[in-house]
Structures are given as C-alpha cells and as structure tokens.
C-alpha cells in the first residue's frame, strides 16, 4: 500500500507547489481589496521570462528573478489601470490574461521545442528524505518547492503578525477608514499587486524551469484560474491555500496514478478532472454564503479613488 501511495503523494505535492505560489500572491492582493483575474497571463509571462533567461545561460537564480520581474511588471500595468485610472477590475484582469497570453506566445515563438538547458532538480534532504511516505514527498523536492513553503510561512506571518500586514488587511476591509487613519491606500495596494505579480511569475517559472522544463504557448493550461478558485476555497487564509492546493494536486495525481496502474480511463476525462474539481470545490465552499461574507475582504473589487 505504502509503495503505491508514495509516488502518488509525491506527485500531488509537486503539482500543488505552483498553485500555492500563485494563489498566495493573489491572496495578498485580494486581502488588500483588489481582485486581479490576470493570474494566468502573469504566469505565462513569468514562465517565458524564466525560460528565456535559462536558455541564454542565465542560470536558475536569474531565471526566477526574471520571472518575478516579468510578473510584477505586468501586474503594475494592471495596477495603474485599476488603482490610478479606476478601471473595472474584472475587465482589466481579463485583458491582462489576454495580453499575457498574446505577448508570451508572440515573444516565445522561437523558444518552442527546446529543452531547458538547466532546471530545478530534486534535492533530497539527508535523513528526512528516508522517512517512509512523506520523505519522498516533502523532503525530496526542488529548490523552488522548498522556497514555496518558506514563502507560505512568511506570507502567513506577514499578514497576521506584522503591523504592515494588519494595515494591508484593514485596507482590504475598508479603504475609507484606513485612509482616515492615515494609511496610504493606493501605495499599499500597488505593493500588494506587484507582490501578487511576482508570485504568479514565480509560479510560471516553476512550470517552465522545474516541471515541464520547456516553453510552449499556453503552458500553464488554466492553472492560474484554478489558483484563483483556491483563494476562495481557502476563504482567504494562507495555510488553507496549501491544503486546497494539495487536494488539487492529489486529484490530478490520482488520475495519473490510475493510468499508470493500467486502469482504462479516457485521457480526456482525466485531463478534465482538475477543472471539474475546481467547480465542485467552488460550489461546496460558496453554498455557505455567510462564511464567504464573513471571510471575504469587504472592499474586494470595489474601486476606491485615493487622491492623496
């Protein structure tokens, strides 16, 4: 039993990591009261940027940095249009998705079909990686995945244990009140949006340089949208994002596992599992409207004219 569960858990964890990265970033953005639906676009830009960096011999650290910069730059465009120019956040997020998909397909065309010359490889932690079951899953990951867990803890600490985190959350609840307390609403929101973009870019880097080790058009295949759903599923709390992402990784991994042990399932049915799981999860979590209302940032998605 353990022999068959071990690879299942390991691939669930591996599939969960980029979702955690993207969803954590979006969670911080939404906690500041901004809804950025452009995750998918920023992830694609980050994926391409990191692949280009690594293809030109840049190494892994510059690849991750390039991904974060690309994601943050795209996010700041979104920030300018929604925060300074007061545009509808839903529409601006969609246009960021379209733009990110288009720009990455356009700039990335000569990188299609090549393998990444360097990639994030698994680094087993001595001793710990020998623990049955969880050793191969949690202590035999790539550097980016370990970094994800660090960022998860850091984000939770920042939101709940620092003054700046408190300021960010209060802005998300009521920008009017926060402003009257002297908080610079738009400045904080810009910072949150840029952070969300950098995290989405890093998630893209995970796909391009750790998981698939290549670039192709639409590489992220809707995972940006799944990450958005995860934030709702987690009722805007960081640790629950990780649990949700593991569940999703588990669903996808289970499909692959069934195929591996020779159960006859249509590949198309398997491929649709994560999307159907997302719908199911949204339905379950949203049916309790009171819980959503209690936990959603009160000013989420509403424009606020900060003329300071």
């Amino acid at each position: 039993m353990i022999e068959s569960l071990t690879p299942l858990l390991a691939s669930a964890v591996a599939l969960a990591m980029p979702l955690i990265l993207a969803a954590l970033g979006e969670l911080v953005v939404e906690r500041s009261g901004v809804l950025n639906l452009g995750l998918e676009g920023m992830m694609l830009l980050g994926a391409l940027a990191s692949f280009v960096a690594v293809s030109h011999g840049g190494g892994l650290a510059p690849a991750a940095l390039a991904a974060m910069l690309a994601g943050a730059a795209a996010a700041l465009c979104f920030g300018f249009v929604t925060l300074t120019l007061q545009a509808n956040q839903v529409a601006a997020g969609l246009s960021l998705t379209i733009l990110g998909a288009g720009v990455s397909a356009f700039l990335g065309r000569q990188y299609v079909g090549f393998r990444a010359p360097a990639s994030f490889e698994e680094l087993p932690i001595p001793l710990l990686s020998k623990i049955p079951l969880i050793g191969p899953a949690l202590f035999t990951m790539n550097l980016l995945a370990y970094l994800t867990l660090v960022l998860l803890a850091a984000t939770a600490w920042f939101l709940y244990r620092t003054r700046a985190g408190l300021a960010l959350r209060s802005i998300g609840e009521s920008p009017v009140v926060a402003r009257s307390l002297g908080l610079r609403v738009n400045r904080v929101r810009y910072a949150a949006v840029a952070f969300g973009g950098a995290m989405a870019g890093l998630a893209g880097c995970y796909y391009a340089v750790a998981q698939f080790k290549m670039w192709q058009e639409g590489l992220t295949s809707g995972n940006g949208w799944i990450a958005l759903a995860l934030v709702v599923f987690a009722t805007w709390r960081p640790l629950r994002v990780a649990i949700g992402a593991l569940l999703f990784g588990g669903v996808s991994a289970f499909g692959l596992y069934l195929q591996a042990i020779g159960v006859h399932v249509s590949t198309f049915a398997l491929a649709s599992l994560p999307y159907l799981a997302t719908v199911l999860v949204l339905v379950i979590i949203s049916s309790d409207q009171n819980m959503i209302r209690r936990h959603a940032p009160a000013s989420l998605g509403k424009p606020f004219h900060d003329d300071s």
Partner: protein, 362 residues
C-alpha cells in the same frame, strides 16, 4: 504624473463615452506601428498589410463579415449579461457545445437529411450553448458559485469534450486517423451567397449564417433598450440594492442572462461548424468567445456599438493572418493587439467619470 490629479466629474461625460473607444483604438494603432518598426518592418507597409489589404476586395470583405458575424452574435448575448454584472466569460465553451450539438445531428442524419436538417441544427446549437451555460447558471443561482470561474473552467472541459469526440466516437472512419468528423452533407451546411447566383460573391465563403446575426441585432437592441426584462437586468447591474428593493427576482436574472448569452454563443458555434469549417475538428479554437468580451466592452454594451466593434475585431483577426502570410510575422500579434485595445479602453474610460487637472501645490 506627479503634477496631475484626477477630479471627479459631477456627471459622466457623454462625449467621452464616444471618444474613449476611439482614443483606445488610436493608442493601439500607435503601439502597433511601433511594434512593426521594432520587428524591422516598414510600419506603413505593415499597417497596410494588416488593416487595408485584407478588406480591399470582395473576398476579403466577405471573410471580414464571416468573422465579425459570430463575434457580434456572442457579444450581443454577453452584453446583456454584463449589463446585469453577470460575468459569463465562458462563451467560448458554450460555443463549442453549440457546435457539438449541431455536429451530432449532422453526423446522425448524414445520409438521410433534408431541408429540415439545417434549421434543426440551428435549434440544437442554441440548445447546446444554453445547456452549457445553464450549468453555470444553476451553480450560481443555487450555490452562489462564482460565475467567472465556473464558466471558464467549463470552457476547458468543453474543449476536452470536443477532443474526445473527434479522436473517438465521432472520428471520420475514412479520415486517415485525423481528429476530424466527416465533412457535413449539403443539407447540413449554410448555403453560400455565391450559390444563389449573387455574382459579387462568386468564389467567397460568405454564407447564410450571417442572417442569424442580422436578425439578432435588432432583437438584442429591442430587448436591451425597450423591454422591461432588459431594464430589470440593467438595474440589477447598476444598483443591486434598488433591484432587490423593487423585488426583481435575482435568480431569474442570473438564469436569463446566462441562457441568452449561452444561446447566442451556441448559435455562433453552429454558424462555424455548418459554415466555413463544415465539420468538427480538434483545431477549431477561434477564441471568439474571449474576443467577444472585448467586443462587448468596446461597443459599450450597446447593440450598434457592438456591431462596429465586431467589425474592427474581425479586422484584427484577418490582419493577424495577413501579416503571418505576407510578412512572416507571428499570428499571436492579433491577440496582443486585442489585449492592448481592451487595456487602453479601460484606461481611457477614466475620462468618462474624471477630468484631469493640474495638482495645486499644497
């Protein structure tokens, strides 16, 4: 930007409502010329290849209508929902489902069709789109599940359903294992304009499916601007509190918005599979459902505006194909321009509600 600030207008500027889209188009053009220059092309030549050449003859013009028609149809449906703040962004999937339903009939009655087949396919296509949209509607109305995420997830699923069908049960047995269905029989295809002996359309692919759109335009206008239901939807979007107070049933608004946009997207699906494609295949991913969102926004959620915006967007599609063939530039350029256009439009819209003033030193 330091020296400038935004001052709210007492009333939204009506003039800016019209100027902002034009300004956005202009900005996109300027960036476009810059991109062409950066790619080492003569910007003016590239501009001509992208925007003028595709529509310089009758064949190009009919291709324009052939692309604008489904875009317009979907956008009209979406606009009705968007007015009510119901964000159906899964029109692409609803379009696939319309195509699937129509294809089912076309395959089943391939050898014993009749004049009834095409109308039946049109009805089936609309029902297919409505069926797919109704899942989103039910989950939103009953369980408050976010319609943006649900409708988008279902688009990925619909794409996989198309792939499953054309790689599996509906694959053409004589198709050398290509993921395609049989070519539809004539009974299952929209008649070409050329087949009616309209000389000007000789050799073009323009077909009767555009009449679906032509009929939908005044209907959508009447519904949005002159009907009580359309009014209820708009109030629901602009002032949800007022709508609740007036007793407008919220669930019915959700169903209505999604069923209408689903039906429109489904019809667009039929007009594609029973039109220029003439079959269902795995490469049919025109992204009309997503582009139609931009069309609806650019057209200001208004029937007339949407017609104009759909023609412009269709031109972007054709231009993308033209620069790919003539100048070997990637086709993804048209998606870049689409995204830019929407982003610029959203940015320019600030001028509707705000005016720019010089910041006075405090």
């Amino acid at each position: 930007m330091r020296g400038l600030r935004l001052v709210p207008r007492a009333q939204p500027s009506r003039a800016m409502l019209f100027i902002a889209p034009l300004l956005a188009v202009l900005l996109t053009l300027i960036v476009g010329l810059g991109v062409f220059a950066w790619l080492g092309q003569n910007p003016l030549r590239a501009f001509r290849v992208f925007f003028i050449d595709p529509v310089s003859d009758m064949s190009g013009f009919s291709e324009l209508l052939l692309k604008a028609s489904p875009l317009c149809l979907i956008a009209l449906g979406l606009a009705i929902g968007f007015r009510a703040s119901i964000w159906n962004i899964g029109a692409e999937g609803q379009m696939y489902m319309g195509g699937i339903f129509a294809t089912g009939l076309a395959i089943r009655f391939h050898d014993h069709g009749g004049a009834w087949l095409l109308p039946a396919m049109v009805v089936a296509g609309a029902l297919g789109g409505m069926f797919w949209a109704s899942i989103t509607a039910a989950l939103r109305a009953q369980f408050h599940a976010n319609e943006i995420l649900v409708s988008l997830m279902l688009t990925y699923v619909a794409d996989l359903v198309v792939k499953y069908l054309v790689f599996g049960p509906w694959q053409d047995p004589q198709g050398n294992n290509f993921p395609i269905t049989v070519q539809f029989s004539d009974d299952a295809l929209f008649p070409l304009f050329a087949s009616w002996g309209w000389g000007a359309f000789e050799g073009t692919r323009l077909n009767a499916s555009v009449f679906l759109t032509v009929a939908a335009i005044p209907l959508a206008w009447l519904f949005m601007e002159r009907s009580f239901l359309g009014f209820q939807l708009q109030v629901t979007g602009l002032a949800p509190g007022a709508a609740r107070y007036a007793g407008f049933p919220e669930k019915r608004m959700i169903w209505l918005a999604l069923l209408i946009s689903g039906a429109a997207a489904g019809l667009a699906g039929v007009s594609e599979v029973a039109g220029p494609i003439g079959q269902l295949n795995d490469r049919w991913q025109p992204l009309y459902g997503f582009t139609a969102i931009i069309v609806a926004a650019l057209g200001r959620m208004h029937a007339v505006g949407i017609v104009l915006a759909s023609l412009l967007m269709a031109l972007l599609y054709l231009g993308g194909e033209a620069v790919q063939i003539t100048l070997q530039l990637p086709k993804a350029l048209s998606q870049v321009f689409q995204g830019l256009l929407l982003m610029f439009l959203l940015g320019c819209d600030v001028l509707v509600n705000y005016r720019i003033a010089r910041r006075v030193a405090a």
